[in-house]
Symmetry: C2
Subunit: 192 residues, 2 copies
DNA sequence: TAAAAAAGAATGAACATTCATTTTTTTTAA
DNA sequence: TTAAAAAAAATGAATGTTCATTCTTTTTTA
């Protein structure tokens, strides 16, 4: 195993430990020493890979956000009809949030608290552009309600985060049928 | 001013300071010393009113949750038709979240992070019973989709939290028209 | 063998909570 | 009614701990 691979592995271990610990305890209740221990590394080593704790969390956020949107848009074709395109993206997002729950929980926590630097969060939003483009087309074709992106996002996408958190807490177990129901609710809320 | 009133005032000041500071910095980045300073009280005094920091936040959550649901259901009449009843409750909730933004933000943060003891959060959920009853009736009358309360909540109510947070961040300014659009999306997502 | 990477221990700041006093309020007795 | 005494409430200053970060030494790699 080369030096580079070893470095990548170590960085990945740190990111992974950060996600798990922050998910369970929150940012400020997660000491660097615990992150180090979980990643099997000395606390001092973290500072070879990251500037400080804030930077570690910012980078973790950016990493996972990119992974998330890559997955969401991997099968997206900008030329398909709006309805079909939306269903595809929505289901990819649902799949990510439910299969890759740890990562999605982390993103949700970052987006709902003052944990991440605001400038970093802003950058993360840009990754969603393909979905915003689709919605713009949908509005033009009068397939989607003529309302703002925020509103569409609030009803079509954001509820998945709530369902995911509820599932993580053990409040419910989302089956294929539930996903289909959720998709219908999402589409009903934004379609014209 | 009697002794009792003075105590109540002091407790209220502590609760208010807690909300403001936790909203802006999160639970763990809010020191007791700052809460004390903002409430114009010695740090030691907090411990006359609350057992410890966790208890302070738990009690704050319970207080605000009760205030929220009282407001939401104040004008609710269990005998009105489902659609009308839902519109009324929804609009009361929207009003609370947008007018009493500080309090609503605090609840959202509590519900989206491991900040509050889980047992306390569970208690808070019970306050929503009138809405769950309405939904049950709606399902029986085939006015509302035959799906779980979690799903209905995720689409009909939770998006308001997202919109509220976005507004607080300055991403958008919710007008009467936006509220109406949001209501339509909420109803469209759950109606049969 | 030199340079880079990693380690563990050390440092100093921040913090929740407690402690020893002081201030305020209430009670008692003239 | 008043003022002294007792009780309660409030305070600011410790206390001891936890933690992010840095420093010095050791280990690994080139």
């Amino acid at each position: 195993m080369g030096k580079l691979q070893k470095s990548i592995d170590k960085r990945n271990a740190l990111v992974k430990a950060t996600i798990e610990l922050v998910n369970n305890n929150g940012f400020h209740a997660t000491p660097m020493s615990k992150i180090a221990k979980m990643a099997d590394v000395s606390p001092a080593t973290i500072y070879l890979y990251f500037e400080n704790k804030q930077d570690l969390v910012n980078q973790t956020y950016m990493d996972i956000k990119a992974e998330y949107t890559n997955f969401a848009f991997a099968t997206h074709n900008p030329n398909t009809p709006v309805k079909e395109g939306f269903e595809n993206i929505w289901k990819r997002i649902a799949e990510f949030k439910l299969k890759d729950c740890e990562n999605a929980m982390f993103l949700a926590q970052c987006d709902n608290t003052p944990m991440i630097d605001e400038s970093i969060r802003q950058k993360g939003i840009k990754h969603l552009q393909p979905l915003l483009d689709l919605w713009e087309r949908g509005r033009n074709e009068q397939v989607i309600k003529p309302v703002s992106d925020y509103l569409l996002y609030a009803y079509a996408i954001n509820p998945l985060s709530f369902l995911m958190i509820s599932q993580k807490r053990g409040a419910l177990q989302l089956s294929k049928k539930h996903i289909e129901e959720a998709y219908q609710a999402a589409w009903d809320s934004i379609k014209l």
